[in-house]
């Protein structure tokens, strides 16, 4: 701060509006919802304070809760597994194409489409054969009738069908991030390595990977948190059905709050979600700090 030669008071003046806004829009609502989670409340009439009753219900009595947590975490894992693929793709694009930008922009298109559109689009792809579903149509024309499914309504399959759409949509997003990261590594390093005899994948192993770690971390965190909060796609495509088979934490929270009029209970689930997000962000950061230290 001394370097800047700006009095602390000035800094405060400039930081304050943003800080206030952040506190009002993020911290206070979170605290309110933590408090609401301690109430038995239908959202309309008077509330009664029941302490940790909602949390007890959630952890012990709710048959939907743990499966939905499992599905959410699986969602997160699936979207993190995608990132190395994006990185590989980015490296290949960077190496073999002189103008990768066009291609990257094309891959990026699904990201700018509204999730509602994506959902409706994929619903028609997944539709049963009798309703002209594209995927089943293709399978039938290939003579693979036995492979056809009601993708969105068979409880064992539906969730994976949703994962796939999500991975498809965000592939371009993470590819763009990785691609930008790869491009920002100075060419001189590769040239020097080439002289020393390191080329191709060897160069990637010793130059690209260590230098891309911070960018990689950004993608992982974004993918992880994004999928923990997954909501819109599930809502549009299955609304958590059939019979909770595709419920994730956030849709379960939504259904409890607005379907069953259990506002307090919904807030308890929301609180759980916030805690999970915070804990996992912390864990991911820790892991990457270790990796960083190892490389440097």
């Amino acid at each position: 701060m001394k370097v800047l030669k700006v009095p602390a008071r000035t800094i405060a003046v400039f930081v304050l509006p943003c800080l206030l806004l952040y506190v009002c829009l993020v911290f206070i609502p979170i605290l309110v919802s933590v408090y609401t989670g301690l109430l038995k409340w239908d959202g309309l009439s008077a509330a009664t304070f029941i302490g940790l009753g909602n949390f007890k219900d959630m952890f012990v009595n709710d048959p939907v809760f743990w499966p939905s947590v499992k599905r959410t975490l699986l969602y997160a894992v699936a979207s993190m597994v995608e990132i190395p693929l994006c990185l590989l793709m980015a490296i290949l694009l960077n190496r073999y194409l002189r103008r990768g930008n066009t291609l990257v922009s094309i891959y990026f298109t699904p990201v700018i489409l509204s999730v509602v559109i994506i959902g409706q689009l994929w619903k028609t792809v997944y539709n049963p054969t009798s309703m002209g579903g594209m995927l089943n149509g293709v399978l039938v024309s290939l003579g693979l009738e036995s492979w056809t499914h009601n993708w969105l309504t068979e409880p064992q399959i539906a969730m994976y069908a949703l994962y796939f759409v999500s991975l498809w949509q965000y592939f371009g997003y993470h590819l763009l991030i990785q691609y930008t990261g790869v491009q920002n590594i100075p060419d001189e390093l590769y040239e020097a390595a080439k002289i020393d005899g390191a080329d191709g994948f060897k160069a990637d192993r010793y130059i690209t990977l260590p230098l891309i770690v911070p960018i990689f971390k950004i993608s992982i965190v974004l993918a992880f948190i994004g999928s923990l909060q997954a909501f819109d796609l599930v809502m549009v495509m299955t609304a958590g059905g059939p019979a909770h088979a595709t419920d994730v934490i956030s849709t379960h929270m939504y259904n409890s709050s607005f379907g069953s009029f259990k506002y307090g209970y919904g807030s308890a689930i929301a609180t759980f979600l916030v805690v999970v997000c915070l804990v996992f962000t912390g864990v991911i950061n820790m892991i990457f700090n270790r990796i960083d230290r190892k490389f440097n």
Partner: protein, 461 residues
Amino acid sequence: MVKRNMQKSLAIGFSALMALSLAACGNSGNNANDSAATNAPKSTNSTNSGGNAAEPATDSGKKVTITFQNIYPDPATPSHKMINELTEQYMKDHPNVTIELDTLNTDQQKVKLKTQAASKEVPDITIVNPAAQMKPFVDAGLFAPLNDVLDQNGLKDTYQEGLLDYYSFDGNVYALPDGNNIEVVYYNKELFEQAGIANTPTTFEEMLQDVKILKEKGITPLAIGEKDSWTGSFLFMNILLRTNGGPGFLQDVLSGKKTFEDPAFIEAVDAFQQLVQAGAFPDGATSIDANAGGNIFKSGKAAMWVIGSWETGAIDASSVAGKVGAFQFPTVNGKGNPNEFMLAPGSAFAISANSEHLAETKDFLNFFASNLPKKQFELKNAVGLGQKVDGDLKAAGYSDLAVNIAGLFNQVQGGDLAFDNTMNPATAQVHLSSIQNLFVQKVDSAAVAKEHQQAFEANKE
């Protein structure tokens, strides 16, 4: 080269991020709106408050915008035309009033209203369902009593005897119903003929038989859109009305005389599962929303549709008009009286107690409710109307189907309200997803009963 590349990809990155954040803003919390818009374009959306500026300065009243939340999204249906024509007419007569239609699907509207209610921001006029579904809102004091609206222009006398009771609490009427309907089985005569079925089924066994015959011919036997889970529940409750040998099962559960583990309930679940196992419903029914489910029947792809008589006008306006008849839901295992129906005393228009323009809104609703019967009659949608209307259906050129349905109305000897109109919301949610589950897997019927009973006990007040 490297540097330019970098700049370029950074530029892409930034513009992408901007687009993303814009998209994110547009998305948050507006899901209901978005999907409603994709499902059915709102034709009157352009008439928002911005249009007021162009109006002549001669009108003396203050400028008022009334938000009218409604559930008539499908432009092909008479109800959609009705609400648009009536609001336009009122706006023409009252240049200072703008009526903004907030048009949604039924399930979306339910959720949106609950969200709005939680923050005490109920639209000026909204739609509610009778009895138990409406009670939490009334208890929270969100709706204005409408007794004065009913007294104006003799509106009260137009409603059928007893209909307003479903919307009355402590002697006050809180909402005005848009109709009074019963659940019937619509069937496509042409498809029945194709399958060689001569008579409509009068027993559940015959119905199952017909389902199998239709299925063999490659015709979807029963249309349904079970993503909106009330549709399956409505059908299930009709079976329960039969296996229970008459109405009042849920009331008996509420008063403690019966439990959900009663044989009548288990028998109903069994019968319902027989329908599912026989392949009565379209593939992937649980991912089809209610409108799309109805369109399977209305486009002539399904042979039967078990739904409320409110669809009569819409069927007559569809491509299967003239080919459709209706019959009572059959007896199940020899039990029940076919003349007892699932009753649907409409959805109803309620006014927010906190409306900023209470007087204007009430005046509009009086106009709307008074003119609704006449307009519906004109639009050939007078079947299942909750209000008396002058005119003979046949003479006015109504279809045979409409006359057929009107005949069924005359046979009504009582019945039940839908599950979610009788039980509290938390129990109803468990019920809805429990029935939805029957569509996708075979379940032990006793376990379904037990799940219901547990949910009922856990959520009892």
